[in-house]
Symmetry: C2
Subunit: 333 residues, 2 copies
C-alpha cells in the first residue's frame, strides 16, 4: 500500500487538522469526539443541519460545512460510521433553538447511531428530526445496508436543505424538503478500480484489467453486474437508463444533475461523461437545469464515477442557486 | 487500459463539448482549432490573458477561463503542445484593444508555438507580450524542457494577473506582475503511480510497489530521485526543503501555498499533506496567508501531489482575493 499518510490510525485526525488550518474562516473542528461545525455556530433562530458518515468520501461531508449548507458534520473512521457521541456533540453545538435536522445516508450503522444521538438530544430538549437518504438504484439490499444505499443525492440534498435552513424555514419545512429530495432523486455508480482502506492495507476488491463493476457502492460494495470494459457512451447509457427509468424521470422534467468522480478519475473524463449524459437527457426530453461535474462524494482513490439526478421544482432550483460558502462548494459569496 | 472515454483521438474534443454544456454561462468553446474563451469575450478596454498547453491537466487551463482569470485557453492534445493557429485564434478572439498577455509554461513546444502565434498577431496589429513560467525546482533541464518546467505556479499566476487585467491594469503592468509571480514562486511534485496517456494505451513509466518518484514532472518526466515509500511527514519535509531553500523563502514572508493533487490522490490525503506543510512553514516562520488544497494542475489519474509556494506582496494578496468566476476556481461572485 502506497498512501500519502503517516500512520493509518491517524489519517482522519491529521486530515481534519489540515482542514482546520486551511478553512479556519469557514469551519471549526473539534476532536475526541471528532466533529466539524461552521465557524459561526450555533446560529440563533436557525434550524441546524447535521450530517455525517465514514471518512474517505471527501469533500463530503466536512467540505460542505459552512454558510448555506451544513451546520455540522461528523466524520467517522475511514468507511466506518461515526459514533452517537460525535452526533450528539455536533447537534448540541449547532442548536440555535429552532431544532436540528439529521440528514442520514442509509447505512445500518449510520442510521442506528443517528437514532441514538437524536434520542439523547431530544431528552435534553432539542427538537431533532431525521431524514434518511437512500438513492442508489443499483441493488435492493447491500453489504452494510437494508434497502437502498445513500449516495450522491446526499450532496444535492445538503445544498438545498442547507439553503432552506439559511433562509429561515422551520424544522418541519426543512425536513419535508429533505423528504422531497429523497422522493425525487436517484443515483448509480460504477468503478474501474478498487480503493484501499488505510487500516486494511490492501484493495477492498479486485477487478480484472478489462473489467468494470456497474452499480458499485461508495465503499466498494458489490454492484449489479461485473462486465467487460465498455465505451463511455455505452456505460453512461446503461447507468442513465437505470437511474431515469427508476423514478421515472420524464420528458419535460427539470433536473439537477451530478456527474461525480469517485476520487481517482481525471476531470477530462468526467466532462466527457457529462457530455454523454447530456445527449441521453436531450434524447428523452429531460432538461438539465443545473449541474455539478467533479469529485463531491468519493471513495478514496477509486477510479469510476456516479450519476445523480434530482427532479427539481422551482423552489429547489432557487435554493440551489442561493449563496454557499464551504470548502467544497462555493458561489455567490 | 481502462478509461472512461470513447476513442482516444476524440477525448479532448468530447471533453470540451462537456465543458461547454456544463459551463455555457462562463465560457464559449471553439473547435478546429480548439480554444476556449470567456463568454463575454472580447472585453473592450481590458488586457486579454491567454494561456494553454497540453490537455490532461484539468482544470488547468480551460477550467480557469472566466471573469477575473483567463480570457482564453488553448488545449492541445493530451500532454501535447497546442498549435500556433489555436493560440492565434484565441488571441484575436480576446483582443479588446489593450493588448494580450500570453502566459506560457516552460515546455519547448509551448514556448515555440506561443512565440510564433505572437508574431502572427503582432503582424496584424495586436500588442502581445509573453511571460514564461518556470517554477519547478526539481531538475535543471527535462524531457520536454530547456531550463525549469512550468508547473503549479501557473495556477496562482493566472489568478493574480487575471485579476489585475480585470481591474484595468495595462499590458506592461500585467506582464510585470506575471514576471513578479515567476520571480517569487517555486514548486515541486512527486508521484506514487504513473498515468496513462489515452493514445499511448500504457503507463508512461513504471514505479515499484514500494517506490515513489520525487521531483516528477506533470507529464511523468523523471524527477530528482526515485526512493522507497516514506511517511507524509518525511515526503513533505523533503519537498518543502527543496522549494523553500531555492528562492529562498524566509521567516516573515507572506505566502500563497498550493497543495495540489495530481488527479488520483484522495482529498483526505491532500489535507493531511497540507497539515504537514503548515508545520514546516510555522517552524521556519513563513506565513501562509492564502492557500489552495485540491486538484488544480493534474496529470490525468496520476497519484501524487505538488507543493507550490509564492511569496506574495499586499497587492498580490488583494488580487488573489478579487472575485473570480471560472469552472475550477470561484469566489466573490
Amino acid at each position: 500500500m502506497k498512501k500519502l499518510i503517516n500512520k493509518p490510525e491517524d489519517v482522519v485526525r491529521e486530515s481534519l487538522e489540515g482542514m482546520q488550518a486551511a478553512h479556519g474562516d469557514i469551519i471549526k473542528v473539534f476532536y475526541e469526539p471528532h466533529y466539524i461545525v461552521r465557524a459561526d455556530a450555533p446560529v440563533q433562530g436557525k434550524v441546524g443541519v447535521v450530517s455525517g458518515g465514514g471518512s474517505g468520501h471527501e469533500p463530503m461531508h466536512g467540505g460542505f460545512v459552512g454558510k448555506g449548507m451544513l451546520d455540522a458534520a461528523c466524520p467517522g473512521d475511514v468507511f466506518t460510521s461515526p459514533t452517537p457521541d460525535q452526533m450528539e456533540a455536533a447537534t448540541k453545538a449547532v442548536d440555535g433553538g429552532k431544532g436540528v435536522l439529521h440528514l442520514v445516508k442509509n447505512y445500518t450503522g449510520d442510521v442506528m447511531n443517528f437514532e441514538m444521538a437524536a434520542e439523547l438530544c431530544q431528552a435534553e430538549g432539542i427538537d431533532v428530526e431525521a431524514v434518511v437518504i437512500e438513492d442508489d438504484v443499483a441493488v435492493k439490499d447491500s453489504l452494510y445496508t437494508t434497502g437502498r444505499r445513500g449516495v450522491g443525492l446526499t450532496v444535492l440534498a445538503e445544498k438545498i436543505i442547507g439553503a432552506a435552513a439559511e433562509r429561515g424555514d422551520d424544522l418541519k419545512k426543512v425536513a419535508d424538503l429533505a423528504r422531497a429530495c429523497q422522493a425525487n432523486g436517484r443515483s448509480m455508480g460504477m468503478a474501474l478500480t478498487s480503493c484501499t482502506v488505510p487500516s486494511a492495507g490492501k484493495p477492498t476488491f479486485e477487478l480484472g484489467a478489462d473489467e468494470i463493476e456497474v452499480g458499485i457502492g461508495i465503499h466498494g460494495e458489490p454492484g449489479r453486474e461485473r462486465m467487460k470494459m465498455k465505451s463511455a457512451k455505452e456505460i453512461v447509457g446503461i447507468m442513465s437508463e437505470a437511474v431515469i427509468s427508476d423514478l421515472p424521470f420524464k420528458s419535460g422534467d427539470e433536473t439537477i444533475v451530478m456527474i461525480n468522480g469517485m476520487g481517482g478519475t481525471p476531470l477530462i473524463e468526467l466532462y466527457l461523461l457529462y457530455n454523454e449524459f447530456v445527449k441521453v437527457a436531450q434524447g428523452k426530453g429531460i432538461k438539465v437545469a443545473r449541474r455539478l461535474v467533479g469529485n463531491y462524494i468519493t471513495s478514496l482513490e477509486m477510479e469510476g464515477f456516479s450519476i445523480t439526478l434530482l427532479k427539481a421544482d422551482p423552489d429547489m432550483l432557487k435554493l440551489w442557486d442561493a449563496p454557499v460558502h464551504t470548502a467544497g462548494l462555493r458561489w455567490g459569496v
